[in-house]
Subunit: 183 residues, 4 copies
């Protein structure tokens, strides 16, 4: 039942947008009474939070899998960086519909917790990865923070705004960017 509700919430969010995300509509979509929502969630906000948390977990799982599965990486080897960047883009593109709603229609405070959790997880993975790759930085955690912020926005906005940049060209740019941090 929780599943039915959360799934319905996700559908309504993607299909109707955040403005039209009402408890009644979610209940309708779930084929459930409005009252039932409140057996499992204290309020509407908690429902949104649950959708976001699951989505954030999915993405960070995918990113983690990519980084883990990439095998030994040489940051100075452009092919390695491209592979990682590619995996990242793919993880983000997987649910572009929800991405758009979350990024464009939700006030950031609504998804701040989920986003920070995701960023923290990716940052930690990246810090390990950078160390393993032998990258030297004055402050490795600061470097990880900067990279995550930079890559996050580039990737998300590329998916959402579809600028006139081919995927391959974007990967080239990621490679160039990585080059700056590898020295």
């Amino acid at each position: 039942m929780v599943e039915r509700i959360v799934e319905a919430a996700r559908v309504v969010l993607v299909r109707d947008g955040y403005e039209s995300f009402t408890t009644n509509r979610v209940a309708d979509q779930a084929g459930v009474s409005p009252g039932s929502l409140y057996q499992y969630f204290p309020d509407k906000s908690a429902l949104v939070t649950e959708v976001l948390d699951r989505w954030s977990a999915e993405i960070s799982d995918r990113v983690a899998a990519s980084l883990a599965g990439a095998g030994p990486v040489d940051v100075n080897d452009p092919r390695s960086v491209r592979a990682i960047a590619d995996a990242l883009l793919t993880a983000i593109e997987a649910d572009a519909g929800l991405l758009r709603i979350v990024w464009e229609e939700l006030p950031a405070v609504r998804h701040r917790a989920a986003q920070h959790a995701l960023e923290r997880r990716v940052r930690e993975l990246l810090a390990v990865f950078l160390t393993a790759a032998g990258v030297r930085a004055t402050d490795p955690s600061a470097r990880a923070w900067v990279i995550v912020m930079a890559v996050e926005n580039v990737a998300v906005r590329w998916v959402l705004d579809r600028p006139d940049i081919p995927r391959e060209a974007l990967l080239d740019e990621f490679t160039a960017l990585a080059g700056g941090f590898s020295r």
Copy 2:
């Protein structure tokens, strides 16, 4: 009168947040009747848009001034890059109160137009700048797009989230990042 209203709107937005940004409150703050708002703005949304447009223009003016006033720049000279990044941060920090409301409380669609305008302007300045600096890229405009996106998020989030990274360290990272694009 338009001035009074827009200024009141800005005050309410910063002081009370977007949730509490109601037409009645703006009218109160402006010492004007709610009806009068509609003599100058078609709806509440237009009021927000006007505030954002002015703010976006201010920032891009400041950034433009920084880039223009920097004089001849050598991208391979770390001191040049630091100076630019520094100016950028300063421009963004100038009205951190409004920045927070816009970035965290407004749905992105609300400020999309203003943000795109700002990004476009910065991108164009940057493209000229990159060309002048002799940076060669397969697609200069793609490169500018990527840099703007990357820098935007790093700078904004550094201002809003205050991660444990000293300003100097952040400038170092910007320099490192720029290094990747200068080869």
Copy 3:
């Protein structure tokens, strides 16, 4: 407009009872939009309070008028006491419909303020009256309190429950009761 709303509230309260006293129904009765209620009253509770305050004021005005207009009174003269008791009953009976709702359907906490105000006012009038009448008591204010409480319930319940006691017989009892306090 405030008048229209308060009057409508009174009508709904008397006609439909407190259970059915809803903001929408009051608005309907007043021929007004639900939103308009909230221009003049912060919430539903304030609306009830206003009705009660006015009613309480009316009653105490009537009682005050009776006591004042009674002229010189001799507590030991049964005719004087009867006249006052009669006036009191009449004041209470004037709006028996509202009396019933207030006394039977409203939780006492809802009308506590109005009731206390009324009781205090009557008590003060009574204290003056007792002094003027030359009644001696160890603690005149305690005596006034007791009398008001006693008379209040007897009168109200006689009006509401219509026990098988003729009005004249009730007045006799009031006279007897007063006799106890006059020595």
Copy 4:
């Protein structure tokens, strides 16, 4: 099981107040399923009624015991009247917590039946008592009705509102009041 439920209902009523007296909360407190309530009580109202009936019976038992145990009484003897009034106050004070909820938070219609039963019982006791004491009145039952109403409110409100009247002074007033009816 009925015991468990009724006791739980009483606890919830006194602890949480009537506003928060919900069937779910009673079920929780009783360690029972909400559905089980409806095996023994047709609805929520019946549950309240049962609590009130028991409470009303307790009080009237206590009052009856006091009147019965008082032995031969002389209404013209102030000490007799004081003893009875004292016993009455004590009976009412025994469960002041529930008294407050019943008197202040419940609409009177909710406890009307229990209250009338209590009043009737006390009235009958009193009528017998008055006859035994040789008090002569035109209509003894009317007199009993008036006394019960008068005493009820004075006693209850003294317990609940705690006016600045010492218990002894209150008993004095009761005595004075009784004096009026004894002639």
